[in-house]
Amino acid sequence: MSKIKLTTVTFKGTAEQETQLRQVLTEIKQSEHPSVMTALQRAQEIYGYLPIEVQSIIADYMGVSLEEVFGVATFYAQFTLNPKGEYAFGVCLGTACYVKGSGDIQAKLEECLNLHDGETSPDGKYSIAATRCVGCCGLAPVMVVNKEVYGKLTVKDVPDIVAKYKAM
């Protein structure tokens, strides 16, 4: 299990988001097998991340302890306790990409954005999260920015790609 990165930003959830969350939770509670994981997946769709405030609402509503909710939220790679950046960068560190040098690409990206893996820039614009196999190994090594995929990369390409998003 990787190290847990606790929430570092202030919670700014709106009343509409909370109403939406409660609606979703009611649906889940009425299903045949209510599950905390489904609740967290839906909550992350609403908020973009899972701050402790949201986890508390889920725990109360589902009638389980906050520890259990936190346990599930920190177990799966897809759940994040911090909001992703406006531009979320992810270098694939799957085997096919790794043997073709994606480790060096990750290092270059961290240098270009001045962020470490799993971090979001203070202005909320950029974040880096290494991913495990995007499934397009034919394009290795691969980097994903939001939904845009950049394949067959070399370390040289990284600054240009970063510059493109910094200019946006």
């Binding site: 994981m37 799966y76 096919a96 043997v99 196999c133 691969v142």
Partner: protein
């Protein structure tokens, strides 16, 4: 009737390379030119040869265009569709044949040696249209099962076929179904493991994206065979295209009465629900997967009781992998003997491998069991690019091992792979050349398993972390030969004491590289040298006499470690150098080397 079909690959590799926009461009221009009554554009699943994507195939000619760009669309329409002339420039060129253009997919070396069973519809049909699946004998096997066969007969066919689980361990599928059938319980579950976690394997994704109905049909057959009415597909949320196509497929099957309360009017009820996995490798382990479907942390639990007795929601459950299911309908239709006629004595049928890494034809290949590694790498894969030498093939992902050149001629099947210290796993096959350091690769896999260990049992949680520390010491040149022996001992402790498959197999990458590449480990320890020049602490960058003194490298160096006089040889200050490699990337004269 259309006179021409344009097939555009919509698999993940091609899709990431803009095939969606290419398809739109074709559709738009065909309408603009008033050809929409004659020409039909079809988005298909993966063709397999991802290395040269985006791929387009035009029938009836079967013309195989590779590396197509959006800008090429007008030319293809003008030349091929309107004038009936092949666009030679875009046809796939076979390097092995002296770079001649190959007209159709079937003529390529990549496809000639393949036998497609699980992937038979991938790249052939539009996965979003159930009618196309039905036109390719889809749901015939289900009809046969529900109207002609008793559940026990179905299981007997599977047993006779010799089909073994394609997800990793290779347990006989028919036997698994029999266990679940024998349980006396009103509620049983059929699960599909589509949580493809092996980094570097993507065959399950391709089946789900290219032929989702094959999985639905097989699960329904399984439901009838064991007496279950509910199925779950546990699929990675990171596979959005696969999830979308499964949703469409389930909706269409319900509409056609192929899922639901009264399937085909036989009174048999079965339905399938999707459960999204959230990215945890351990959830590929069957008990962990079921705990995760229940919504908890995906931690495994001891077996017995086996899932066939007490599985999901404490009910009898069978769990099979996507590729396993993709074989089932074909076995029912063509018979156990047909399936058993392919493969080796104990491993029947075909296996899909995801070829990746240092190989010319990266992509998906399906070969009969018993094909040799050499055939896969040299004939189908097209060999190692850039004139480099083959070093090892890694199979089985983080649970498997590295196969060296001396075993290239071993026929691939479950048992042979185990005997040489690797395993089949889900079918990832990563090729490595002389530039890859085997200690670094072992460390890469250990980092992965340490990261993915759920933490429930101590041997895996702490043992693997200790193992990683040894590897770290070795790659930094700080280890002793005693460490090497201790490390090997620790590997066996972890293997024999861990709770689930993840821990039991985690040391395999270390053990197999130790077995075949011990000299590389020893070079790191005794000579403080990384023979492949990968481990940063053990290499030095040097400027050779080829240096023209242009100063490009010194301007690029982020720590100002390079200095010299213009037009004279420059020099690197080793105490400052951080080994980032920027100088090598910058030098136009190849004057900087790693030692």
């Amino acid at each position: 009737m259309y006179r021409t079909h344009i097939l555009v690959c919509g698999g993940t590799g091609c899709h990431s390379n803009n095939s969606g926009k290419i398809r739109e461009a074709f559709e738009q221009q065909i309408i603009e030119r008033g050809l929409d009554k004659d020409v039909c554009v079809v988005g298909t699943g993966c063709f397999g040869l991802c290395a040269v994507g985006p791929i387009i195939i035009i029938y009836p000619e079967g013309a195989f265009y590779s590396c197509v760009k959006v800008e090429d669309v007008p030319e293809i329409i003008e030349e091929h569709i309107v004038k009936g002339r092949l666009v030679e420039r875009l046809l796939y060129h076979e390097k092995a044949l002296g770079n001649v253009a190959v007209k159709s997919l079937a003529e390529t070396n990549f496809y000639k040696k393949q036998t497609r069973v699980a992937l038979r519809n991938c790249g052939v049909i539009n996965p979003e249209r159930i009618d196309e699946y039905i036109a390719r004998d889809g749901y015939q096997a289900l009809i046969k099962c529900l109207t002609e066969l008793e559940p026990q007969q179905i299981i007997d066919i599977l047993k006779a076929s010799g089909l073994r689980g394609r997800g990793g361990a290779g347990f006989p599928t028919g036997v698994k179904w029999q266990f679940a059938k024998n349980q006396d319980n009103d509620t049983k579950y059929v699960c599909c493991n589509a949580d493809e976690g092996d980094p570097g394997a993507f065959m399950d994704r391709s089946v789900l994206e290219g032929d989702p109905h094959a999985v639905l049909e097989a699960m329904t057959i399984a439901g009838y065979a064991i007496g279950s009415h509910q199925g779950y597909i546990y699929v990675r949320a990171e596979y959005p295209i696969a999830v979308e196509r499964l949703k469409i497929a389930i909706a269409q099957s319900r509409e056609y009465g192929l899922l639901g309360d009264d399937i085909l009017g036989t009174g048999f009820a079965f339905d399938i629900e999707l459960k999204l996995g959230s990215g945890a490798f351990v959830c590929g382990e069957e008990t962990a997967l079921m705990t995760s479907i229940e919504g908890h942390r995906g931690e495994p639990r001891p077996r017995p009781p086996f899932p066939a007795v007490k599985g999901l929601f404490a009910k009898p459950t069978i769990l099979n992998n996507v590729e396993t299911y993709a074989n089932v309908a074909q076995i029912i239709l063509k018979g156990a003997d047909w399936f058993a006629s392919m493969g080796t004595e104990k491993s029947k049928g075909t296996k899909v491998f995801a070829l990746g890494g240092k190989i010319t034809n990266t992509g998906l290949v399906e070969i009969p069991m018993g094909t040799t590694l050499r055939e896969i790498i040299e004939d189908i894969g097209g060999g190692i690019p850039n004139g480099k030498k083959f070093k090892a093939a890694q199979t089985g992902g983080p649970s498997g091992g590295c196969i060296p050149a001396e075993h290239l001629d071993i026929p691939i099947d479950y048992d042979n792979l185990i005997s040489i210290g690797s395993m089949m796993g889900s079918g990832g096959m990563i090729v490595m050349d002389e530039d890859n350091c085997m200690v670094d690769i072992a460390k890469f896999f250990l980092e992965f398993t340490v990261d993915e260990s759920c933490g429930k049992c101590t041997p895996c949680r702490i043992g693997n972390r200790r193992l990683l520390e040894y590897l770290d010491k070795i790659t930094k040149g700080q280890a002793t030969l005693q460490d090497l022996d201790d490390m090997e001992q620790l590997c066996y402790y972890i293997k024999s004491n861990s709770l689930c498959g993840l821990g039991q197999t985690a040391p395999n990458p270390v053990l197999s590289t130790l077995r075949y590449f011990r000299d590389e480990y020893e070079a790191h320890i005794k000579e403080r040298r990384c023979p492949a020049h990968v481990c940063k602490n053990l290499i030095q960058y040097k400027i050779t006499d080829a240096c023209k003194g242009c100063s490009a490298c010194s301007r690029k160096c982020p720590v100002s470690a390079i200095s010299g006089e213009i037009k004279k040889k420059f020099d690197i200050d080793q105490t400052k150098c951080i080994k980032c490699g920027q100088c090598i990337a910058t030098c136009r004269f190849g004057a900087i080397i790693k030692e």
